[in-house]
């Protein structure tokens, strides 16, 4: 528990901070959790993928798993292309073994066929920890697994304090809880912005196939997917994000003021819930407690007041800039660079001046 006090709350995830801490500040008792010491942990990582690409959140979850130490295995399931994903995953640093399972039963990656296979793997190999990204798929699959194993899951962690103690935000990020699990298996989902991604090279994991025999023939079947195609950077991982709110007044306003500014800054587009509810922007662009949680280097909030639920999604951005007409808008309490101005004048002026 001494380690609890010494580790900086949010920067515990950053390699520089923890290296500094472990070299000079932490007492010996905490070394059990550093990568050099022997850990009794034995972790299974649920690897998410899409069209042959590893999901960045899984690589973030791996970094969190490494902080627990011990041997780390990964599991990849899918209806096609699993071998390619496994090949890529085998090169990821820190994983010693990849279990793969390919079957038409997994189409759509529903929890019902995947969870029995995961459960069987966890039991056979006596894993002490299961890690996954806190993504739509992670949120769907992992709690079902936890219940079948009779374990209380720890969701959306932002820091690892020890093998059984983790930090997680509650109340839309307005409080940080430190929780200690008494369960035999620790089942964890990890916030995608809280740790760095594990390196995609330097590893050499072995690959082993797992049969789909235990995958239940689930009543749930895949119909179709409607994924928004965009040439812009992905919102969840973009280094820069330009977000618009209710003040844009229309979908046209969004197109005219937010999108070109985003393009000029090579940024992803985000939106407040108000803008999404009013139909100015797509649901998938919503930033906040119930939408995406992001931590870009630069977040530009345009015409967004800054409700608690919105701040929950972006207040870990490195730099927050806000343009808003209302000098008392709560967004200015968190903005590093705030400009009180009419967006309809300020945004065109900004685009004009950025061109030079």
């Amino acid at each position: 528990m001494i380690a609890t006090r010494l580790l900086p709350r949010l920067s515990a995830a950053k390699p520089a901070a923890s290296a500094f801490a472990s070299s000079s500040r932490l007492p010996t008792s905490s070394r059990a959790f550093s990568s050099s010491a022997i850990s009794l942990a034995n972790t299974l990582l649920y690897l998410e993928h899409r069209k042959g690409t590893l999901n960045p959140s899984s690589l973030v979850a791996l970094t969190a798993a490494k902080k627990v130490g011990g041997d780390i295995h990964a599991f990849v399931a899918g209806d096609e292309g699993v071998k390619d994903v496994a090949d890529k995953a085998s090169k990821v640093e820190g994983v010693s073994k990849i279990f793969t399972s390919e079957s038409p039963k997994y189409k759509g990656l529903h929890s019902e066929p995947i969870v029995p296979v995961l459960k069987s793997l966890v039991e056979k190999n006596s894993y002490t920890h299961v890690f996954a990204g806190h993504t739509a798929i992670g949120k769907d699959v992992i709690p079902r697994l936890a219940a079948l194993l009779d374990v209380s899951q720890v969701s959306d962690i932002i820091a690892v304090e020890s093998e059984d103690t983790f930090q997680r935000p509650i109340y839309a990020g307005n409080a940080i809880a430190t929780v200690k699990s008494s369960d035999k298996i620790k089942i964890i989902t990890v916030r995608g912005t809280a740790f760095d991604k594990a390196a995609e090279e330097g590893g050499s994991a072995s690959i082993e196939e797992v049969s789909d025999a235990e995958a239940a023939d689930a009543p749930t079947t895949f119909v179709e997917e409607k994924i928004n195609q965009s040439s812009r950077p992905d919102l969840a991982t973009a280094p820069r994000v330009v977000s618009g709110g209710r003040a844009l007044k229309s979908a046209d306003g969004f197109k005219k003021y937010i999108e070109p500014l985003a393009d000029q800054l090579n940024a992803a587009v985000g939106a407040s819930r108000a803008a999404v509810d009013a139909g100015y922007a797509d649901n998938a662009l919503q930033v906040g407690q119930t939408g995406k949680i992001i931590a870009p280097e630069l977040y530009v909030a345009v015409g967004i007041s800054g409700a608690i639920q919105h701040l929950a999604g972006m207040k870990d951005a490195k730099t927050i800039s806000a343009i808003n007409k209302d000098p008392d808008a709560p967004i200015f309490q968190v903005a590093d660079v705030g400009l009180v101005a009419d967006l309809y004048e300020a945004v065109p002026e900004m685009m004009e001046k950025l061109k030079k």
Binding site: I142, V151, S155, I176, D336, G338, A341
Partner: protein, 277 residues
């Protein structure tokens, strides 16, 4: 009893609801550092309001196909307030699993709630079989996003999480019937088909909940209201928390508030910080 004739198998819908701190309240960490100050306005978890609304709309759309909408909640005495709200919105009866404050030694966790719901459904089935559970995708206090999935696992039912649209493809609401659900996933939408009975969790986009009218609030007071204890459900030990909250702290404060004069100053400041080229 209330079941309309001519329907072979009307559906009983269960809607779990949670009493949480009102979403608009700015929460404060309690002075003991073990939780937050809960002496503030509470309300029904917003996602659960959407769940109640969806159940009520389902009945309005498919006349005679729903036998009963049962709202259920677990927690201390005040939890009854949100059950009354659900009844005023259109639920037919309510079940309160009363758990006195501090009797568990920690906050009730999603795993415990999923077991409570499983047992409540078993009991409810003795009167009329539950064929669908609609519940919020997450509670805005613990932000866990687990209970619906855990309940589906406890019942060995399929699950359709983060739903923004629910369609009964055959128009019939009975066991084994196919249902189409549109789910909000990362990057867009996923459409799935599943079969009753199943557990669905609601996304914000599913509907806009109604306000309870005064006459309906009055009527709600007369609706059936059942109470169970954990002992009644055989869960005195099994609902106990597995996670110990060691500490609750304020998140790191941001040093915001720096305003600039004009667009030029905005651009040069962002350049100075190395955030734009």
């Amino acid at each position: 009893m209330m079941r309309p004739t001519g329907i072979a198998s009307a559906l009983r819908v269960m809607v779990p609801v949670k009493r949480t701190i009102d979403y608009a309240v700015k929460i404060r960490v309690a002075s003991d550092g073990k939780g937050v100050d809960t002496n503030v306005k509470h309300a029904m978890n917003p996602f659960d309001e959407i769940a109640v609304e969806e159940a009520v709309r389902l009945r309005e759309k498919h006349k005679g196909a729903i036998s009963k909408i049962t709202a259920v909640s677990a927690g201390p005495a005040k939890t009854a307030d949100v059950l009354r709200t659900a009844l005023a919105m259109g639920a037919d009866d309510a079940i309160h699993v009363e758990i006195p404050d501090n009797s568990l030694g920690g906050p009730l966790e999603p795993l415990g709630v999923s077991k409570i719901l499983r047992e409540v459904i078993k009991k409810a089935n003795e009167e009329e079989e539950v064929g669908l559970v609609i519940m919020g995708k997450q509670a805005i206090d613990d932000d866990a996003s687990q209970t619906g999935q855990m309940l589906a696992a406890q019942l060995d039912w399929p699950q359709a999480t983060f739903a923004s649209k629910l369609e009964f493809t055959s128009g019939k609401l009975e066991k084994g019937e196919e249902v189409q659900v549109t789910r909000e996933v990362d990057g867009g939408l996923a459409v799935v088909k599943t079969k009753l009975p199943f557990v669905m969790t609601t996304d914000l986009r599913l509907n806009e909940p109604r306000y309870a009218s005064l006459p309906n609030i009055m009527k709600a007071k007369k609706k059936p209201f059942k109470k169970y204890s954990l002992k009644d459900l055989g869960l005195e030990d099994d609902a106990k928390p597995r996670l110990e909250v060691l500490k609750v702290a304020e998140p790191p404060k941001r040093e915001g508030g720096a305003k600039v004069e004009d667009v030029d100053a905005l651009i040069s400041k962002l350049k100075e910080l190395g955030r734009i080229d």
